[in-house]
Amino acid sequence: MLRTITPRNARVKRVLKNREAKTEENIKTAIFVRGSQTSQIVNNALADLYMLKKPHAINFTKKNEIHPFEDQSNLQFFSQKNDASLFVVGTHSKKRPHTLTFARMFDHQLLDMIEVSIQHGIPMKDIKTPKSAIGMKPCFLFNGDVWEQNPHYIMFKSMLLDFYHGQTVDKVALAGLEYVISVTAGPLTSEGKPGKIYLRTYTIQLKRSGVKLPRIELVEMGPSLDMTFGRIMEAKPDVWKQSMRVPKELKPKKKKNVSKDEMGDTIGRIHLGRQDFDKIQTRKMKGLKKRTSEDKDEGSSDKKQRVDDSDDDE
């Protein structure tokens, strides 16, 4: 276990404060770590995924005796030490060749994990095209009909979004959208098992189209990975539920009496006070004039006077 640090100066204190649980969280940091044996394909993939995740990423250059599906203590230690909650572990063995394990932590404990095996990969440096700048916000495309069907696909999609979406923002510079991560799911195998997935990254070019919207052209940037799914470890339901809680401050405030119908039109309900029919202004006619005050009681004669005055003006 890590020793608990007691801050001795303001800088450490600030850092520790930044690590505390908060309603609006920091961008998740990812650690890219090599297992005891890796292949060149895995190394390249790790380097490229690291480049995409920069600057919120830590690259471990040394090999580590690490087997995430057997023992998670290493990951927990790294997570605590570096205040990181995302991991990519690259390993290579005869049984599971060219493997990347994507793992997520919650409260420095393992939340869920998915393993993919690279069938074919082209690193970023082998594709001689312009690259996007570091730290840009990517767009995501998930193509295929299976993304919602199978726990493997659901988790991988959630994992990729979690890795690369960065800070949740309310506005984005249109000129800053430089690249897109496109993940296409191939068809399921004949036994109904998850098939291949194709991860591609492209830089975006906005071309003139003669209309207001731009014409999009994509240029492959790399990395390009064809993968199959391996083992999976899903989150425990209670931990998952805890991790998905939204703080009260961030929940959208309910607007009273405003709703949307099926057509997407906004419907509002307005409450009016009780209408006083005595004071309602209708067309003025002599015959409809109030004469009650004069006939019944003398006390409110001044009111009657006022009504007469206004009539005189017209």
Partner: protein, 296 residues
């Protein structure tokens, strides 16, 4: 004048921004800049020329996504044109649990009960004697709790020879000390509270302080008992003090006379290992022993 021809020619110059052939409409999560295309992929095309197919598919979906993004309301900023994004619809897990509310201090609880609301006071106040603004407290503060008065009336019944300035300084120091003690107490109670009852803390309520006291008392008692045994005779020859704490709940334990043979053997072997050394390994660090003897 017929301009349709001109418009047509103009249109021909550019490629289209519309995408056709999507049977199921593409879903978007613009908060995450993501598009989910649920249409099945073309298997034959994917096998035949994979990269071209993937690129064209991605281009089409990127076009659709950008059409949506560019239709969002925009504002102009120093960073150029910014599109206002809606909140993401795809929920992603948090990194850490929700922050716990801080346990209330005694004063906060009292103020809440009495309906006392905290008011903001200005840091700088006008000092009439010098005619300028001075800090309310701290370094170079305005009249520091009366210690800077140029004249102090001797209170009735006080010794006229006593230093009233000194008295005021003392009083101030005492107040500060008392406050520091209270602060300490609040911290201790908060620490206990975090151990005690998670439910009450989560609600932001103070836990039952009787429990907190009992916990503290237990801790102290155990510490006292430890110190009593920490003498050279393990507390045997110390004089007993009347009304002193007696260790409770500690009983001598005897091994049963008849027991599992393997357990007994294991126990005896354990002792033997400690004395003789396990599996013939040395109990003595030879290098250290040599060093020690040499020194002598």
């Amino acid at each position: 004048m017929d301009v349709s021809g001109v418009l047509e020619a103009h249109k021909q110059k550019f490629k289209s921004v519309t995408v056709e052939g999507k049977i199921i409409p593409v879903e978007y999560d613009l908060g995450l800049l993501a598009a989910y295309d649920q249409n099945p992929v073309d298997e034959g095309e994917l096998n035949k020329n994979k990269d071209e197919y993937l690129q064209s598919l991605s281009r089409d979906n990127a076009q659709l996504l950008f059409n949506e993004i560019f239709q969002l309301p925009t504002i102009s900023d120093d960073n150029g044109v910014m599109a206002m994004l809606p909140t993401p619809t795809t929920l992603l897990p948090r990194e850490k649990p929700l922050p716990k509310p801080k346990p209330e201090t005694r004063w906060e609880k009292f103020a809440k009960a009495k309906g006392i609301v905290k008011r903001k006071k200005e840091r700088m106040v006008f000092d009439e004697t010098s005619g300028e603004y001075k800090p309310r407290w701290g370094y170079k503060a305005i009249n520091d709790d009366g210690t800077k008065d140029w004249l102090i009336e001797v209170p009735a019944g006080a010794n006229p020879m006593d230093d009233q300035y000194e008295a005021r300084r003392e009083a101030k120091k005492e107040r500060i000390d008392r406050n520091e003690k209270r602060h300490q107490r609040n911290m201790e109670e908060a620490a206990v509270a975090s151990k005690l009852d998670r439910k009450t803390v989560n609600k932001g309520e103070r836990p039952n302080m009787d429990n907190a006291r009992a916990m503290k008392r237990k801790e102290l008692e155990s510490q006292i008992l430890i110190t009593k045994n920490s003498t050279a005779s393990v507390g045997k020859f110390d004089k007993a003090i009347e009304g002193d704490l007696k260790p409770r709940g500690i009983k001598r334990q005897f091994a049963p006379t008849i027991t599992d043979l393997s357990k007994e053997k294991a126990g005896n072997m354990n002792i033997l290992d400690k004395i003789v050394g396990k599996n013939g390994e040395d109990l003595v660090n030879v290098r250290k022993a040599i060093k020690a003897t040499k020194r002598q």
